[in-house]
């Protein structure tokens, strides 16, 4: 298939077109990301006047300086880190526990309970009844709300159950039972140590989801000390002038144009700073994400 075998003319054309097509797609996806990076540390006025296109111009970290002084952003950062850790821990534990039980054919009433979990995938009450419930429980402006809501995903449970069914033989439990091991002990001592791969998949799925989520916080959190990074970002990235006031620039001698340029270039820096953790785990995460989709596609 590789070297040595003569390719027909049609195949040469096909390969060339194929590579060209993929290279084009590659550029289209890569360029906006690349541009954000170079714009974030170029001279703001060069960015603002369209002089930065392919290469950075006039190395300048003023934008980053301002970002590090912007308090609300770091409050948001702290909150997001906490919500991500809490939400991921809760969601992964519940998913593993539930999926394991669902993988056991000898569980009486399993079909019925699984049904209970599947129905909400297709019909749900929607935003308003959920909001009224949360309000009734006095969980508005409670950080636990954004950690708890959405912690059970049937999709993840199905993936995990498929994993358990295909990797942990039922006979193993029979053997452990003879040794006097109960279900819960077996789950913690035998199943979990054998499930590192799926745990990694779930952690990555749920951590990235939590890091990027903003809907629940928008609905259920009003306190500015509680709002996560994505809500802060939304404020900064959606309006042009707000940023200037909030950063309390206090630089009198710069003219208005310079300030506006800087405000724009700060946005590029903020995109970088807030995506940094995701960027750092991306090479690692990508592998597990793909694995998750693969397991999911076996039995979706």
């Amino acid at each position: 298939m590789k070297n040595g075998v003569r390719r027909s003319k049609a195949d040469v054309v096909y390969d060339t077109v194929n590579i060209a097509f993929l290279t084009l797609l590659l550029m289209i996806v890569l360029y906006p990301l690349y541009f954000v990076v170079i714009a974030s540390f170029s001279d703001p006025s060069a960015v603002g006047t369209g002089k930065v296109i392919l290469f950075p111009k006039g190395f300048n970290l003023n934008g980053y300086d301002l970002i590090f002084k912007y308090k609300q952003l770091w409050i948001g950062y702290r909150n997001t880190v906490l919500y991500t850790i809490g939400g991921t821990a809760l969601s992964v534990s519940l998913t593993l526990m539930t999926a394991y039980a669902f993988s056991r054919k000898d569980m009486v009433g399993r079909g019925f309970i699984v049904m209970l979990f599947i129905i909400p995938m297709f019909i749900h009450g929607g935003l308003i009844p959920t909001y009224l419930l949360v309000r009734k429980l006095h969980m508005i402006d409670n950080p636990l709300t954004v950690i708890i809501l959405g912690c059970v995903s049937m999709w993840n449970i199905i993936i995990t159950r498929t994993f358990f069914q295909s990797t942990i033989p039922q006979e193993l439990f029979e053997a452990a039972k003879i040794d006097g091991c109960g279900n819960i002990g077996y789950f913690f001592k035998v199943v979990l140590p054998l499930s590192k791969a799926i745990i990694a998949v779930l952690v990555v799925f749920s951590a990235v989801g939590q890091w990027n989520s903003f809907f629940n916080a928008l609905i259920y959190l009003n306190d500015r000390n509680l709002i996560p990074l994505q809500l802060v970002l939304r404020e900064i990235l959606s309006s042009q002038t707000q940023m200037m006031q909030q950063l309390e620039l206090g630089i009198g001698d710069q003219d208005m144009a310079q300030k506006t340029f800087l405000a724009e270039s700060v946005k590029y820096g903020i995109i970088i700073v807030s995506s940094l953790p995701i960027l750092c785990i991306y090479p690692f995460a990508q592998k597990y994400f793909v694995k998750g989709v693969m397991i999911g596609s076996l039995k979706g």
Binding site: M1, K2, S8, A10, D11, Y14, N18, L22, L25, L26, V29, L33, F35, G48, G50, I53, L94, T95, M97, T98, Y100, A101, F117, I119, F122, H124, G126, L127, I128, P129, T130, Y131, L132, L133, I148, V152, N183, I184, G185, F187, V208, W211, S213, F214, I219, R234, S238, T260, E264, K267, Y268, S275, I278, Y282, P283, Q286, F289, V293, S297, G300
Partner: protein, 302 residues
């Protein structure tokens, strides 16, 4: 008796399910029951059973509002556009990637095209906002410098541009990710089919067209069914984030309308009715398309 013994033997399993079950009952079934407020004039102080029942009043009101057809039109056109433009691209990408011989090149394309999937919606919309910023955005600068436009770029506030921005930024973000599932299906194609085809003198294009495409057809159909079932389910987040006062005529979709009328204007019953209307239609669509697919000889999703 035997059943009770079997339950007792595995009592631990029920403890493992219990926390998630409590969650599902609490946050899935209680709101499902709470949907009853769509059929009454719900007053929070009076509760669900104390409020006055009004039957289908809110549904009738919604259907007769001027905004009804605007919402339906916006929601439908956004998701149809997304579906028609966005559905084939991951398939094409997967087929193209599958016939690449250089492992390294394939890996690079995959790594890069998957990356946008990890960007949050807020950042994606933020990127659109800074790139297309009327005066300082890079697009505005470029178009001005080659003389295609004069003065500030009004794309972000142009109602006609909204759907294009929405759909194509979605494709930019999702095509790589969407291709994974097809690549997974393609990796299951029997290599001997390709060998046999090569012996018969099939070109690479013919192999992709006559072997690869048919073998991922079941996956394509399943995903198509799922997308069709979600045709009125345009997500809240992105549409909401991309909205501004000038593009509302095309950017208001059902989910953002539910949020505004329900939470910002506190019309709980009315917006619960709108939400319910939406999810019932989605369910009916899903079931219909599923049935249709089965009639056409494909595997449904259930």
């Amino acid at each position: 008796m035997i059943t009770i013994n079997r339950v007792k033997q595995n009592i631990g399993l029920y403890f493992l399910v219990l926390p998630a079950l409590i969650y599902v009952i609490m946050f899935d079934y209680v709101p499902l029951y709470g949907v009853l407020i769509a059929f009454e004039n719900f007053k929070p102080i009076k509760g669900i059973w104390g409020s006055d029942w009004v039957g289908l009043y809110h549904f009738a009101r919604f259907v007769h509002l001027d905004v009804f057809w605007v919402l339906i039109k916006n929601t439908l056109s956004l998701s149809l556009y997304s579906l028609i433009a966005g559905f084939p691209i991951p398939i094409i990408l997967a087929l193209a990637l599958n016939s690449v011989t250089s492992k390294k090149f394939k890996k690079v394309v995959q790594t890069v095209t998957y990356a946008p999937h990890f960007i949050s919606t807020v950042i994606l919309v933020g990127m659109l906002n800074v790139f297309l910023s009327p005066r300082l955005g890079v697009v505005s600068q470029l178009l001005n410098s080659i003389g295609l436009t004069k003065g500030p770029l009004m794309t972000l506030t142009n109602p006609d541009a909204f759907s294009h921005l929405y759909v194509w930024s979605g494709i930019w973000q999702g095509m790589g990710w969407g291709s994974i599932i097809y690549l997974a299906a393609l990796s299951g194609v029997d290599p001997s089919l390709h060998e046999a085809a090569k012996v018969d003198g099939a070109t690479k294009f013919q192999q992709a067209w006559y072997i690869d495409l048919p073998s991922i057809m079941p996956t394509i159909v399943t995903l198509l069914i799922l997308s069709c079932g979600n045709i009125l389910g345009v997500g809240f987040e992105k549409a909401f984030l991309m909205q501004n006062s000038l593009n509302l005529s095309t950017s208001e979709v059902i989910s953002t309308y539910v949020y505004k009328s329900g939470l910002l204007q506190s019309q709980f019953s009315f917006s619960a009715a709108v939400g319910l209307f939406n999810s019932v239609i989605n369910l009916v669509l899903l079931l219909t398309v599923n049935k249709l697919a089965k009639k056409l000889g494909q595997n449904g999703i259930f």
